[in-house]
Symmetry: C2
Subunit: 342 residues, 2 copies
Amino acid sequence: MGEMRLKTNGPVTLSDVAARAGVSIKTVSRVVNREANVSSATRERVEAVLSDLDYRPNIFARSLAGSRSYLLSLLFDNPNASYVHDLQLGALRQCRAVGYHLIVEEMDSGAADFEQQVARLLQGSLTDGLILTPPLSDNALLLAALAARGLPCVRIAPYTAGEVGTAILIDDAAAAAELTTHLLDLGHRRIGFIEGPSGHGATRLRYDGFASALRARGLAPEPDLVVTGDFTSRSGMEAGERLLARPDRPTAIFASNDDMALGAMLTASRLGLHIPEDLSVAGFDDSRTALLTWPQLTTVRQPVTDMSAAAARVLISREPMPRRIMFDLEVVVRGSTGVARG
Amino acid sequence: MGEMRLKTNGPVTLSDVAARAGVSIKTVSRVVNREANVSSATRERVEAVLSDLDYRPNIFARSLAGSRSYLLSLLFDNPNASYVHDLQLGALRQCRAVGYHLIVEEMDSGAADFEQQVARLLQGSLTDGLILTPPLSDNALLLAALAARGLPCVRIAPYTAGEVGTAILIDDAAAAAELTTHLLDLGHRRIGFIEGPSGHGATRLRYDGFASALRARGLAPEPDLVVTGDFTSRSGMEAGERLLARPDRPTAIFASNDDMALGAMLTASRLGLHIPEDLSVAGFDDSRTALLTWPQLTTVRQPVTDMSAAAARVLISREPMPRRIMFDLEVVVRGSTGVARG
DNA sequence: TTGTAAGCGTTATCAA
DNA sequence: TTGATAACGCTTACAA
């Protein structure tokens, strides 16, 4: 049929729309990308054809020709599945709302080949920006590599200030202090503290808040009542054993996250202690775990999905990135904490 | 400087390598893609330059020109964070091993606009294949849309046979029967069963296995001892309450997943029942939850990450997709089940 | 065995 | 306000 070539099927392209609307592809492109300098008459006509043909831009052509990929990556290296999951959800929903997609990458910052992992990740780098989740938010090697390549990144809940990207911050210390004060107000004086692993940013902040609240009341943290876990329930159980096996056991336990608090509760119930009559238990994060326990956990709500949604928003906007964004935390009092006995 | 154009920086491309190796870009392409018909001398020379310049193919150019995107998507709509997480991990690691990336998408199959969600997902479809996780593996609307567009998909643990894609199967019924037999062997005769939500594929299979094991011993499931949950711990707690409040309460509870089993255990411990002396509890999945409890849960191990890794492998291979791949399950006996009292 | 040339569907440049 | 036309970096015919 010579020149006459009818597209029978396949995805609708800019030229399909252009042909039908009687304009050039550049004009269609302008309309699609909401650029200026299109007469409203033309714009309307093109828009009609666009929705008529149900045009969808080809993300690969876009990325190849242009300077953005419409892809974001979220990096994680955290044993806490539900925390990672919630973080993903926030970013995912924000991405979807604006036509972006989310690529997830697992890193192993403890592995010997971490440097290679980073190199491999960035060499093939195909995303417009990275969302770093704890403990990656504080990984010096990763941050340096990102800075060297000028890749935009947002660090979720980092501990160190750092010069790179945007930090999404929550005031862990203030919230931990507030929760500790809640326990003090209930009459508790011997409070066990289960801290997180030392590499993790939140660990020190939460402990600092705990300690400062005690000091504000003229008390001091007792070294024997501070034990270390790794943010898993299992470690919380073990920490609970160490704390509760003591003859002068604490009347309350404050765990640095909900999973460890659950572990402590399981140990307590195994030892025949009733919560909150014999022992108050509090966690941190208000994860799903906090609702699984009985009684439900007193904890600190961290707006995890909001934080990761904000992270995605910052990366997508392509405007100058703010140094930091602060989120408020909230102490959530539930049934697991009560008046100290005696 | 006329023709002389020195690339000062920017990513290394095929032509950079070609120029340096003194061959055409097509030859370099052949080497990169391990195609035949390249003399070993040429191949070696090109490979040297390739690694020398640290060439990385541009995934967007590849996708635009070729027929694959080096991207897979994993769809989920499941409240169980750790199940989804483990599934992601398996797919993620498989992808990474072969230079693919994983895009995750959240769907809401209960929403009124689900059809639009599917349309939007597939219109912009940029991946080489989809991994469907329960309960999406059985979603008729989604499967039909996928089939209509000829998009390859792998269905993880579907309940219905279906004509579409590859099914990654586990013999839920056999495993549930085996676990039930374990309880019967311990002397339990009144066994409570907490089933999953009705939309979920595994729900009926696990119940069927439970029922058939009872029948094999001349017993029958008692309708009063079968209650429904939604796979969350919370629903397990509530189901536990209904089962254990009865005067003739069961001596064992078999929950269709670990989270619900944890819920039942929490209820039991609240009611002052000791496990396993007063009550045996068993779960299903061998998720992290199974190790959080005390005593640890007797459960069924489902090789979740292996299953999703296999799913990714099938999609990436581009060979004719098998109708089904079977995985073995394993009953894991731990401390939460014991000899029936009396 | 190797190379040439034509796309792939966009964005970007520059002229009209 | 518009539109040719050249990239973008690769794969895929097809030729040599």
